[in-house]
């Protein structure tokens, strides 16, 4: 395993390797040994420098970057680990999805924390700049949150497209497109597994974000290569009935 990051609560570690913006999305499963674990109530081990996670600042690492090589290595390990026990492609994707889910929940809290604690918000370009952001109450603000701030937090750029299903039968389906998902950059899928898309992990992250905000949803990742973008991936979000019902109520109440 790679050396742990300096501390877990930070998302990025500075990077000297690649000039391109980098992701921190993999820091969750990669850390078997965080420096401090105050949750173990009985045998609390305070680090030698007397600094617990509560003494560290959540914003210190916000502009730092993580080594792309180490990320690629860790993600590869995750996929291998997941694959070891699965029965098929679907199962593998489900596992990747499950690994992403808790990250989504955490990112949500971190995202809002960072945008409230400083005025130059990571969320800024979405809508409001200085006032604390609102929790998304409707589907559209939620999707903008994912498409913009979340993607920027993970990949330092927005996602490439946001679409609503045109079919009247599936008004609950939305699509977010990433032309070149970072997680798939170093992955070459064998021919017999060509249905597999390892961005299922990111789908899990999205699902965690949706669920955390109270939008029951199922999210899956699908390959949709084009000439220009061979690894183009579409994330399909399907919201549950309860969400759609609530949408109607909130629309009537005039809540945006």
């Amino acid at each position: 395993m790679a050396a742990p990051p300096r501390h877990v609560s930070m998302l990025s570690i500075s990077n000297s390797n690649a000039g391109t913006p980098q992701s921190a999305s993999s820091d969750k499963p990669q850390t078997p040994q965080p420096p401090s674990t105050p949750q173990q109530a009985s045998g609390l081990r305070v680090p030698s420098n007397r600094k617990t996670i509560y003494d560290r600042h959540l914003n210190r690492s916000r502009n730092a970057e993580l080594s792309r090589a180490s990320f690629a290595y860790l993600f590869a390990e995750m996929v291998t680990y997941a694959q070891r026990r699965v029965t098929g492609i679907q199962d593998l994707e489900k596992r990747l999805n499950e690994q992403g889910y808790p990250l989504g929940l955490r990112l949500l809290d971190l995202l809002f924390y960072r945008s409230t604690s400083t005025s130059s918000s990571a969320l800024s370009s979405s809508s409001t700049s200085s006032s604390p952001p609102n929790r998304p109450l409707r589907i559209l603000p939620l999707l903008h949150l994912i498409h913009g701030p979340l993607w920027r937090l993970l990949f330092q750029r927005s996602a490439d497209a946001l679409e609503h299903s045109v079919s009247p039968d599936t008004p609950n389906e939305y699509m977010i497109t990433d032309n070149d998902p970072l997680v798939n950059t170093y992955i070459s899928v064998p021919r017999e597994m060509n249905m597999l898309n390892c961005a299922a992990y990111i789908a899990g992250v999205i699902e965690g974000v949706c669920d955390g905000c109270g939008f029951e949803a199922k999210v899956s990742a699908h390959n949709q290569p084009t000439e220009m973008w061979p690894s183009r991936t579409v994330f399909l979000l399907r919201f549950g009935d309860s969400v759609m019902e609530r949408e109607k109520v909130l629309e009537r109440a005039g809540i945006k």
Binding site: P29, T31, P34, Q39, P102, D109, G212, I255
Partner: protein
């Protein structure tokens, strides 16, 4: 003013709670609720019942700090709420001290203790303790909630913490106590 602070998971499970009293205006930081000691379950009942209001406010107000959302008039218990984006609920029950005229003997003791610190008590108590719905109180509670939120996010970032798990860290507790002392 006495406070009972609870963090509830998205599934209503309490993951942290603490009771404390005001430290402003000579308060000793010890909670003195109006219920007898045998009836401390009332705090939980009141908080639990305020979830009805919270669930409604949650979808009409997009802010994280929802301010004072509910009151339980028989005990003058006021509930303020803060909602994290991931669905954890911070609920603060605050209860002004019982007026000496109608107070029981224990409340009398508390108020005389407050009274001993003289005029400064009154000056500062008008800011937070006296009026649970004043803008000053709202602001103080908001500051308190924000500090709790920071500690909560730090907790949530730990890979050994799963959502919905009880927070048992003594460091977390001391952080909350400090925030209470600072703002409330």
């Amino acid at each position: 003013m006495s406070y009972y602070f609870t963090i509830l998971s998205p599934t209503d499970t309490p993951i942290f709670n603490i009771a404390f009293g005001t430290s402003k205006g000579g308060g000793d930081g010890i909670a003195r609720f109006r219920f007898p000691d045998t009836a401390q379950y009332m705090n939980q009942f009141i908080i639990h019942s305020s979830l009805d209001i919270l669930e409604e406010a949650q979808w009409t107000n997009g802010g994280m700090y929802l301010k004072h959302i509910d009151t339980y008039p028989p005990a003058s218990a006021y509930i303020s709420a803060f909602l994290t984006p991931s669905g954890a609920r911070f609920l603060l029950l605050h209860q002004p001290p019982q007026l000496p005229s109608s107070g029981s003997s224990s409340a009398l003791g508390a108020s005389s203790l407050l009274g001993s610190s003289g005029s400064t008590t009154r000056a500062s108590s008008s800011s937070v303790a006296a009026n649970p719905t004043s803008p000053q109180t709202e602001e103080a509670v908001r500051q308190f909630m924000s500090e709790v939120y920071e500690s909560f996010v730090k907790t949530a970032m730990s890979p050994f913490y799963k959502q919905g798990m009880e927070i048992r860290s003594p460091v977390f507790r001391s952080k909350i106590t400090a925030a209470g002392k600072k703002w409330l």
